[in-house]
Symmetry: C2
Subunit: 283 residues, 2 copies
């Protein structure tokens, strides 16, 4: 097992927030992640909730801005926030655009050059990172859920639907539910995945849900004043897809909220509550 | 009355968070501040709680990181967070050091050149800014309290003790309670105030409390793992000063916490609760 390096650590809500780096074999380079261990974790293994962040974010944004630690501390839940892509990969042009390359991994396993040697975020999220977390931290490895924001909201939905056995529940804030139908998704999928429609569809939340559904109700919050609502997020595509297969969905339009963490922090307690219910921490 | 410019606005916990700029006559230049208006403020005037930030901070840090909006929304409390100094003043060397000049106003009225023409933070905080806030926002102008962090914790204590009629209550996170006895304070007070000991003492929280006391109990939280505890913050100086005059003081050492916003967010609810009690929002 690889070593992980503690970059910094903070006491927070009686638990421990740590930022870590290590050499990721999947990403073929350094990866960073943040872990909040609730106070209960000093006594016994605890369930884990993964948060996948949006475009340009790092492993720290969620821990700084979302206000989730309060609730994780209350319920005894570990929080894990990975970075949104490998960094310092040496790939030419990796930092040239904010919506592809560094900070924009889109949670897919790239099949194309020059990305494929590092950008394997799907495998990283569903396999390597959980192995690291379950080895190095006091987790209940079979009690795991996932959620995220924007690109990470899409990532959480997609990872959960493709791996229903790994995640007890899923929720999202303002997710990119139909990446193959919006310019953000198209711009990233084409260089990462080539023009393989089958592969692209397997990474598209709205396509996926029609094929495989999900075993528990999906919670989504979406601000009505979100600047990306009609151009990129396309919530109606996912709502219609869920409707076709009668997928249980609690899709909440939140009047006047935008795409920011001020929206996320307002509803974070509801999302944590959704997950701790499925993780058996409350009735 | 001067115009204020809305820089950006976000819905948050059913209220409205705005970032503003305007020309400050006291500061002789642009100043920025943040205001969180709770949902109750659309119906009636509400009390105001000012938060003074620490060295290097701007008007946004508190609103991004402290998690206070949740509680302000619950109780019907307006939050105001000013910047920590004028910026873009044209003063030579203003940005050369992080602990004097830009981002380090220390909440004093500078008497010395080159600072005195812009760095009038004491008058700005106790006079000009409240006038702007009470004119432009739905406040109860006589229901005001103040708190802060580090340099701003000191600033809140000092402003409250020098103006007990303006502030119903005061609290602080890891305040610099004795600026005249630590290097941060000495380094700033000397160029801002010259070598006038009387003036310096009037800005020192531990000197002030012995002379004037305060009309309500002071709440202070201090992490025991704070990296600045013994070198700069000197809490025992303030505790001894309060002891001498039997000033009611709830000084809480919080085991294992450091100087960061992860410490502040952990205890923010207690501080808001302290203030809303004195502001008459709860019994």
């Amino acid at each position: 097992m690889t070593n992980i390096n503690l970059v910094s650590e903070y006491k927070c809500f009686d638990g421990k927030l740590g930022f870590y780096s290590y050499f990721s074999t999947t990403s073929n380079g350094e990866m960073r992640f943040a872990v909040y261990q609730p106070p209960q974790a000093t006594q016994k293994p605890v369930p884990v909730l993964y948060f996948l962040s949006g475009l340009t974010c790092r492993e720290d944004n969620f821990m700084i801005k979302a206000g989730a630690q309060k609730w994780a501390s209350k319920y005894g839940l570990m929080l894990v926030a990975p970075d949104t892509s490998p960094r310092n990969t040496g790939i030419a042009g990796k930092n040239d655009q904010w919506d592809i390359g560094t900070g924009a991994g889109f949670y897919v396993d790239a099949t194309e050059e020059p990305w494929r040697s590092h950008f394997q975020m799907y495998s990283y999220i569903i396999q390597e990172l959980p192995t690291v977390i379950n080895t190095k931290f006091p987790t209940e490895p079979n009690q795991t859920s996932i959620f995220g924001h924007s690109m990470g909201g899409y990532g959480g939905l997609m990872c959960a639907m493709r791996n229903p056995q790994l995640y007890k529940s899923v929720s999202a804030f303002a997710p990119i539910v139909a990446p193959i139908e919006c310019s953000w998704g198209q711009k990233a999928f084409s260089p990462y995945l080539g023009n393989n429609q089958k592969t692209s569809h397997e990474y598209d939340a709205s396509q996926l849900v029609q094929k495989v559904g999900y075993h528990s109700s999906i919670l989504i919050d979406q601000g009505t004043s979100d600047q990306f609502l009609t151009g990129q997020l396309l919530p109606n595509v996912f709502e219609q897809a869920c409707g076709k297969i009668k997928q249980p969905l609690n899709f909440r339009y939140q009047a006047g909220y935008d795409h920011s963490y001020y929206f996320i922090c307002t509803f974070i307690a509801d999302h944590i509550h959704h997950h701790v219910k499925y993780l058996g921490l409350i009735d």
